[in-house]
């Protein structure tokens, strides 16, 4: 295994990315990292290397402190809720504008991406276009901000719950934590609740005797559940929930990345897809 420097594979000026690597990276041995960075043209000289390193280490230290003192997950919960609210708001406005164009012109317009919508609006022309163009521009800006927010959420998820994030992906990890309320709350849930978390409506309907037990809540969005054949989804969701529960507990009680978990989940899933059904 070759050792990778804290600045490898990222833009050294990107303080957030560099701080994640300082926090989560490792190497079997130290090396002449500074000389390598200068040699590879990553920085121009020792002074700028020092500045980049210092900025990144200060950010990493601060994030580690947050994570250790338990305020990082509260920030994550609010960030992901805001992200989802922003996504919903953008979608609603997009749909509204598409309908507006459809109604005002003779063309059928669906709420595609913002670029298509902009083109449709331009081809519709007239007062409709002049009236709505600015709003679409604003929506475009908002969409860019949302991307920014999403990458912050993704990094924060890795900070708060590296193991859960590795297995579930950053957004699902964040949403699970938000649905439970905090990392600690999520860590205390039995795996059967993890499995249906986010499907509360369906769960309560079931408890009232009005519906069958829901097989999956938020974790239904995980690729392994979504791609499983219908009859297997319940089993896959159960297996996934079990692993996510273990991952969450390691995140809460130990806080360190456990590299074997990912392979274990993969094994379990192949075992299921290859195994006897029913």
């Amino acid at each position: 295994m070759t050792d990778r420097a804290w600045y490898e594979g990222i833009d050294i000026e990107d303080v957030e990315a560099a701080s994640v690597q300082i926090r989560q990276g490792s190497a079997t041995h130290p090396h002449d990292w500074e000389a390598r960075a200068i040699e590879q043209g990553i920085v121009t000289d020792a002074a700028s290397y020092h500045d980049r390193l210092r900025d990144a280490s200060l950010a990493a230290f601060e994030a580690d402190l947050e994570a250790l003192t338990g305020t990082a997950d509260r920030a994550l919960v609010q960030l992901v809720r805001t992200l989802d609210a922003t996504t919903a708001a953008i979608l609603e406005l997009r749909q509204h504008i598409a309908e507006a164009i459809t109604e005002a012109s003779t063309q059928e317009v669906r709420a595609g991406d913002l670029d298509t919508l902009t083109e449709e609006l331009e081809s519709a022309g007239g007062v409709l276009a002049t009236g709505l163009a600015g709003l679409l521009d604003g929506l475009n800006d908002l969409d860019r901000e949302r991307e920014q927010l999403r990458s912050t959420v993704e990094q924060q998820a890795m900070t708060v719950a590296p193991n859960l994030t590795q297995l579930a992906g950053p957004l699902l990890a964040a949403r699970l934590i938000a649905a439970a309320g905090s990392l600690e709350d999520l860590a205390k849930l039995p795996s059967s609740t993890m499995q249906v978390l986010g499907a509360e409506g369906a769960l309560f309907a079931h408890l009232r005797g009005e519906a069958p037990a829901p097989k999956h809540g938020l974790i239904f969005t995980h690729p392994s559940v979504r791609s499983a054949p219908g009859v297997d989804r319940g089993r896959v969701a159960r297996a996934l929930a079990g692993k996510l529960t273990i991952a969450t507990r390691i995140d809460h009680y130990r806080g360190e990345l456990e590299p074997t978990l990912e392979a274990e989940l993969a094994d379990r899933l192949t075992e299921m897809s290859g195994g006897v059904r029913g």
């Binding site: 420097a5 002449d32 200060l58 580690d64």
Partner: protein
């Protein structure tokens, strides 16, 4: 005794004290911009006061294990261009962060000194000075494990706190064991008890050869 680079003696209240040049951090007295570096507050200062040959020049990069709230680190950072400061506890860490923000030389790392692989991707392999002040078990072994971070000829300044190793054992036998362990990896140059500044602490200076 020749003092290491960036460290001088100042006279204050008729007494000669060690000092470094920089903005004050924790309410220490200053003389013309030189901050008194009290041996009672710092194991490294005590090592210099009792005459141990702690040597480094201005171009040295230092690795400091057990940075605490940054008291000693702040003085080292006055003298040197880069100090990697490793500390794993959040509470002193918060104060260390404040100190680090005010001193360009400090690279703070919230890491466990028993797991050097978690910062090997950040710290250089040719540091000229290792300072260790960890109140924990296995102090000598931890210092030995940091050999890969050090250049040939580097200075190792370790403070061993007897009570952290084994509260029931004889202090002198704890120190002997520590010296033996260190001598397997480094060349132990000199050692001395840090009284009257710190009770039951041994200061050890070793070299990488």
């Amino acid at each position: 005794m020749t003092l290491p680079a960036g460290i001088e003696e100042v006279t204050i209240g008729g007494e000669t004290r060690l000092a470094t040049e920089g903005p004050p951090v924790y309410g220490e007295p200053t003389v013309d911009g030189w901050r008194v570096w009290g041996a009672g507050r710092s194991k490294l200062a005590a090592m210099i006061e009792v005459g141990l040959p702690v040597q480094f020049d201005a171009a040295t990069m230092a690795l400091y294990l057990g940075a605490g709230a940054g008291t000693t680190v702040s003085h080292l950072a006055d003298a040197l261009d880069r100090v990697y400061a490793v500390e794993f506890a959040p509470r002193p860490g918060r104060r260390l962060l404040t100190v680090a923000k005010e001193r360009e030389a400090i690279i703070p790392l919230l890491k466990d000194a028993r797991r050097p692989e978690t910062y090997s991707h950040v710290v250089e392999s040719d540091c000229g000075l290792l300072v260790q002040d960890l109140a924990t078990v296995d102090q000598a072994r931890i210092a030995a494990a940091h050999r890969p971070f050090l250049a040939d000829g580097a200075t190792v300044a370790v403070s061993i706190k007897a009570r952290s190793e084994d509260v029931t054992a004889e202090v002198s036998s704890v120190f002997e064991t520590a010296l033996e362990v260190l001598d397997e990896t480094y060349d132990v140059v000199e050692h001395a008890r840090l009284e009257p500044y710190h009770d039951d602490h041994l200061g050890i200076v070793a070299r990488v050869d």
